[in-house]
Amino acid sequence: MSLEVTLGDLHLNNPIMPASGCFGFGREFSAFYDLNQLGAIAIKAATGEARFGNQTPRVAETSSGMLNAIGLQNPGVDGIIEQELPFLRQYDVPVIANIAGSTLEEYVDVARKMSEQAAVKALELNISCPNVKEGGVQFGTDATLAYRVTEAVKSVSSKPVFVKLSPNVTDITDIATAVEKAGADGLSMVNTLTGRRIDLHQQAPIIANGSGGLSGPAIKPIAIHMIHQVRQKTDLPIIGMGGIQSTEDVLEFLLAGADAVAVGTANFQNPFICERLVQDLPETLQAYGFNSVKEVRDARCSHQSTSL
């Protein structure tokens, strides 16, 4: 069965990729399975300079979800290019470079450098990290700023630019249409919702940063809804994510309007999850009457006039 998908100029062998920040730069997971099986790899966010990130604890568990406030820890764009991309070059799988920053200039700078890398096949503009004050979340909640940073990054990138949207907004279609106008080649949605847990013994937040980003199955219905909403407004390719744990979840995202999916939190529970989803997807598609990923997309489109 053909699992191939085409996201604009980006061709993937299958629609499954690990989500940024949940897979490092692939090295650790390569001990579990052959990364060539993946549709793509979204690597951890890069910033202009190296960052240490937030104080620990950086993670907490919630019902069917988790909070994280890693704080964009990374060796900086140059560090990633020198230390991490060479490892990924041995694989024949498109790398999607996640780009973060606190200023428009930083985004542009990181995007320019990343887009020049042969292994990098697309950029993912992270304007939605809720975990650092200067992590670009303001770009993700204001349509004008989202437009500006997208336009600026597009002007320096030779690779397709996916904009990763924040769900912490009143109307996500506003941001989606703004970045589409600015030239975005696709959308990634969604990033985490801002949440908090308080330790009853300490009477203080569990996450040292106070709040963190909520991910996992808890947010899946919200992600599905937002993808559906945005799909009504645009034909841009969408990489869907938020709580995917099973091939049924993958199909639900595809039916909601996504063209490919990313898997985040589930990698922590089962390091083999992405491989398993790739392997099991054909059977699930068949069970629901589809003979390719493209057929799912066609079914969705024909339902779109109705209330799907």
């Binding site: 949940c22 744990q245 390091p271």
Partner: protein
Amino acid sequence: MIVEDMTIQKNECIALNTFEMVISGEEIPLHIQSGQFVHIQIGDGKLNMLRRPLSIADINRISQTITLIYHVTGDGTKWLSTLTEGTILNVLGPLGNGFEIKHSEGNQILVVGGGVGVPPLYHLTKQLVRHYQVTVVLGFATREAVFYEDEFRELTKTYISTDDGTYGHKGFVTDVVSQLDLNFQHYYACGPMPMLQAVQEQMIDTPGQLSFEERMGCGIGACFACVCEAKNDNGYVKICQDGPVLQASEVIL
């Protein structure tokens, strides 16, 4: 690093809210080392997204079992405590960097443990006593919390302290250590952060290895949840990958 379905052979309460669990498997018991840990799935993984890290208290390569000792702290360990013999646990391991035990500089070794920091020291001590003079000092909150006293005594000289004085020496492990008139060439410690800090300070001139705890996401080095500042090039270590055991001189507490 593999994911293995392991079978519970034993799961017993051995002290206040403290359980000893023996689990068997094909791979992990053969390859795991003292000081490494396993990452255990809670339930069917639909409610609890994060695995729970637990140290190895003992390893039996012949019966292909490992022993875990855990304190019931929250939902995950409470769930573990309800499981019966024969239940299958989904285990990721062996993880992290264990204790290093090839130092020939000297003969006198100190092992210090506090509370749920005690378990990983048991299998370590078993190995150490083959070659060295080992002194063990274990601290617990109170009498009912004491466990593995006999097991350690069988191996070597063991001192127990309790915070409230209901058993053994009253006070902290460092109080006991300061009363020992011995010149240690190396030490190992595992326990709550304040204890590790106190021990590190007390033993500042002695090389030592500390085992750390930090909240974890992946457990394999990919998510950067568990970093700790360190005196190395990166400026940090990942507890799950570079640790949980680190040279005392390496970390900034």
